[in-house]
Symmetry: C2
Subunit: 642 residues, 2 copies
């Protein structure tokens, strides 16, 4: 059979063919060799390896970093496919440079973002009649179906293999399951009690036209939010491995019981027995329990984006009530008044830490005593000192020069700093902010690019739009100032953010699958520009969706409170509009007193200096709208991309 | 059984319960009564009636106007559902006022636009265990599946009934099949020969990863475009009832052979036998022929948006190659150089007719001698006189005052004119233009609303964006100036347009299902504002997608050439930007000589008067972007919607 055609001799030996393997690259020959042996045993010609875990988490624990282990690529988004002869990795443009730096010659990078491209590549590489293997617990229903759709009628079969083949090869080297405590979030930091949340979800079940009898929760944020519990199973994300099945009469939480703190256990069982009693079942039992439940006269509501094909498959088709997101996801997306206040308070404290850091950089960078690594360490230290704060919500990205051109690269050692992406996870709210700074003499193009990124940030933040407008419909406002001169960025424009939960809290955001914007949602607004091999710019703020003065219409209220680098703003691009000055006045009012209270006098002076009103004389204020983008601008950068 | 519960006594008798039936309303009691008897015979509790035909046409022939006949509602978009006791109609906001004017008390208007709402209404109205009937040849695959999805597991069954129940009731009163000639479009007016088009589609089949062996064409525009044939089966749309099956070796055109002109028959059979020989088969044979073809070792490529569930069902699942649109649809969407020139030429002649009309209105409206009907008749006459022109591409909408607030209403008799929507179908290109005019003293709010609609038109037309940006991502630029003060419009922002084909030529446009914008596409740009019961505004132009000065980026070139009403423009809203003046200079250069050639001196003077440059002194030209929308504006209209 065709299976016999793959012998170890076909696998390129990287160390031989490429005498110099850069230090950033992982040699993956032995992993791939072992995986291919397993593939032969299971009679599959290709194996698909996603970058996610069984909960469709965007950020994952080390033990779930299968793609990184097999390929060397450590970015947070990507898919690997290993065939008998080839290994290919798909990722989006944020990670192309990183992937090329990290992968050895066993791997080819596929830069086609279109999701069907993986299936089409498989059609080319895999002969008819052969099998393609996947772990059904690592793919969402929609993703599984999209592969099935491309392969439909092609005589290539998608085979669900419940033993994960990478895990089998990884063996004892694979990091173990976490044992750390799962703890109760104090009431001060929760928007409402978990019982109130459960009742709210149950009333949504009652109001649903299909009257579901249960909701199955697969995403780790869902259980953490619903039960007001937190853990630390995933770095920078305070969640814990779990599932939940919430029925009209019962609640099952699937989790390692031994890890629950006494307080947490007490909270869950306070009202037992009864409809508000949480039964704790073993994490591994979820599949069997859902299968048993689905035998009855029931209808199970699932969110297709976060439920795996493996779990989906145990519920009979006619007992499924499907929506893109579970009611827990969509309810969590809209913050109540208390949650809004908590998130805003976290941003004031975060601004203090940021200002301390920016001042420290300003003083130390010219001396040459800072590098990206020490800079990142310093800001983390500053933030950890603030009340309620447990740690970064993702690894602080403090990149300089070349590395700043990598939208999501982590810090590298270098000698001057110009971009910094900061996120911090406090018990009251998660923050996420990016400021690009420059202490030297920026080039005119750097200033233009920076100012256009800022214009995009402001254009979107100031937009007035009808309630329930999809983010997808408005995100181009963050791009138009860049588009105007042929520039763009290859990542999304923003994402929701949690109350001491994920720093990327979907489904709020500006992408196709995100839910319509309504008041009470928080989203980041983060346009950027990356000149490969030269420099990178991003300006990110977090904003709350609020009612506009015009009734029934919405706009954003920026809750990040850190000024932008004046050295990088080309004032001639900005209108005489007062928005920036108004925003800076807000920063002074909210952050100034906090700095004084902490007796940070030097920082207070820095704040005053950096929030001085912009002034350009007595320009006539009648010009309006995008009409005002004059041809003057488009001639400023002739042949920019030439 | 439940079936016995519907007796004629349950059906409200409109004439009794409502002694006054307005003249705009159709009494539908007898039609509904007859339909419900048929429904009882087929054992169904609900019957769904779409506004489309078996080809998913947007505009339909009278014999396909089943929804209009059963409900009285004549709008081009809508769905009716008749149950044993109720009759409900769903349509979008463009048609709400019209539907309320046209439907009697048997019908309830549902204003929920969400597509799942019909299914959810059915779940409420129809008990479990009962059946819902549909004609499988009147629903696209996607639409059928979306109904099936909502009803999934609910014990209500979707029953395909091949006899159309409305047709059975309509009987001999239903308009007959057309018999008019199907003719060949002269080579002067085609972008390429039909043989070249067929070869192009076949090479797309070869390049497709699934290697389809055939393409099935269901949309009437597809066959008309591919074979360079035209007919007049649907008013204002030069198409004819037909299907086509294009295989790697054969071509079948399913059409009434007797209607083909000698020239058309000769063109189709010129290269017979061989791969470029068109076999003409009977229209009714399509299903049997496709079914027979699908028995072989074949793969049939279909566009799911235009293929009906009935035809789809005869092809085995594993032999289907599905995409949203067939390669004919997507190829037709991008005009080649010759097609672009033809469409542009049509717009110059159209501008002449429009200017003649606007001048005529300007002179006659103040005298009180014009009404909406005579106005529309006059413009149609003017356009028919121009070369190559066969008739309006849809019924000219010339609405005034109150009626202009109905986005798509047809003309009514009235005494003053202020909005006009014109479209004309010439053999070289189809045109579509809307100008709103006012010969009296517009109110400040009318001027502000008009100017904001114009700003939206210009903001979108001037946008620079990357190639393959979806229209959905940029359409909000046409809305932002209105949104800023809490105004909006309830219809789409634009649509593709054909070369002597449909005036709405999908899939080009700004809606979710439309294809990404690439150079060579034509689209209308048509924001509006409608103040119910008071006035309506729309400004529509046709624009070609062209390369921007910035390499690899695109923008629009407006090809409509008729100035806007100066009386309605509030110049203080517009920036000092020169766009309008540049556009007006283009109009003078392209239309002026044409008016002079025709010795239309008075019109030529009107053109010069109405394209004079706007001037507002020496405003500083440095303000930029949407940043420039000042708070000044938002205070101009305090409590507009109060």
């Amino acid at each position: 059979t065709k299976q016999s055609s793959f012998a170890t001799s076909d696998i390129r030996n990287c160390t031989t063919s490429s005498p110099f393997l850069p230090p950033t690259v992982t040699n993956t020959s032995s992993q791939l060799n072992a995986l291919r042996q397993r593939m032969q045993f299971y009679n599959i010609s290709a194996y698909i390896i996603p970058a996610t875990d069984a909960h469709m988490s965007e950020y994952i624990a080390e033990r779930d970093a299968r793609l990184a282990w097999i390929s060397g690529f450590t970015g947070s988004a990507g898919t690997g496919v290993v065939t008998t002869k080839k290994a290919a990795l798909w990722t989006d443009s944020r990670y192309w440079i990183q992937a090329e730096r990290q992968m050895d010659c066993n791997w080819e990078l596929q830069k086609i973002v279109w999701t069907d491209s993986i299936g089409e590549w498989l059609l080319q590489e895999i002969p008819a009649g052969e099998n393609i293997g996947l772990d059904p617990f690592l793919f969402s229903i929609d993703l599984w179906n999209s592969y099935a759709h491309v392969l439909q009628g092609s005589s290539r079969t998608l085979v669900p293999i419940e033993d994960n083949l990478v895990d089998l090869v990884w063996g004892s080297q694979r990091p173990p399951l976490p044992t750390s405590e799962i703890y109760l979030l104090p009431e001060t930091f929760t928007g409402s009690t978990w019982q109130e949340k459960v009742s709210g979800i149950r009333s949504q079940m009652e109001q649903h036209s299909r009257s579901p009898t249960a909701v199955l929760l697969s995403a780790l944020e869902e259980t953490a939010w619903l039960f007001n519990l937190r853990g630390d199973d995933i770095s920078y994300n305070p969640v814990f491995y779990s599932y939940a099945l919430l029925t009209t009469s019962d609640i099952s939480l699937f989790v390692d019981r031994n890890r629950l703190s006494a307080e947490a256990l007490q909270s869950l069982s306070a009202l037992c027995p009864g409809p508000l009693c949480v039964q704790v079942e073993e994490y591994d039992q979820v599949r069997a329990s859902v299968q048993a439940y689905a035998q009855g006269d029931v209808r199970v509501w699932i969110g297709t984006e976060y439920t795996t094909y493996g779990l989906y498959g145990v519920i009979p088709q006619d007992k499924l009530v499907e929506s893109s997101y579970s009611p827990v996801m969509t309810t969590k997306a809209v913050k109540n008044t208390k949650e809004q206040a908590l998130l805003k308070a976290a941003h004031v404290r975060d601004a203090v830490a940021m200002i301390q850091y920016l001042l420290w950089l300003e003083k130390n960078v010219p001396k040459g005593s800072v590098n990206e690594f020490s800079g990142a360490r310093y800001v983390d230290k500053l933030r950890r000192e603030k009340e309620h704060c447990r740690g970064a919500s993702f690894e602080t990205i403090s990149a300089s020069g070349l590395n700043a051109a990598l939208a999501h690269y982590r810090y590298q050692w270098s000698t001057s700093g110009d971009a910094a992406d900061f996120s911090f996870c406090c018990r009251d709210g998660t923050t996420d902010i990016t400021r690009t700074v420059h202490w030297g003499e920026p080039t005119p193009f750097q200033k233009e690019a920076y100012t256009r990124v800022l214009m995009g940030n402001i254009d979107l933040a100031r937009l007035v739009f009808p309630s329930e407008t999809s983010g997808r419909m408005v995100e181009a406002f963050a791009r138009q100032a860049l588009w105007k001169v042929g520039l763009n960025y290859g990542h999304g424009t923003g994402h929701g953010i949690g109350n001491f939960l994920s720093v990327h809290e979907w489904p709020v955001g500006f992408q196709t699958k995100n839910v319509p914007l309504v008041k009470g949602m928080f989203t980041s607004i983060e346009p950027g520009y990356y000149q490969e091999g030269e420099f990178g710019i991003r300006i990110e703020d977090v904003a709350l969706v609020v009612e506009a003065q015009t009734k029934a219409y919405l706009t954003f209220e920026v809750v990040s409170l850190v000024p932008y680098d004046r050295n990088l703003i080309d004032i001639s691009f900005l209108s005489e509009d007062q928005y920036l000055n108004t925003y800076y006045e807000t920063i002074r009012q909210r952050v100034g007193p906090e700095l004084q209270r902490r007796q940070l006098e030097e920082e207070y002076e820095w704040l005053r200096r950096n929030t001085q009103p912009f002034s350009r004389g007595t320009l006539v204020a009648t010009s309006l709208g995008t009409l005002a983008i004059t041809s003057l601008v488009s001639t400023l950068l002739p042949d920019r991309q030439a």
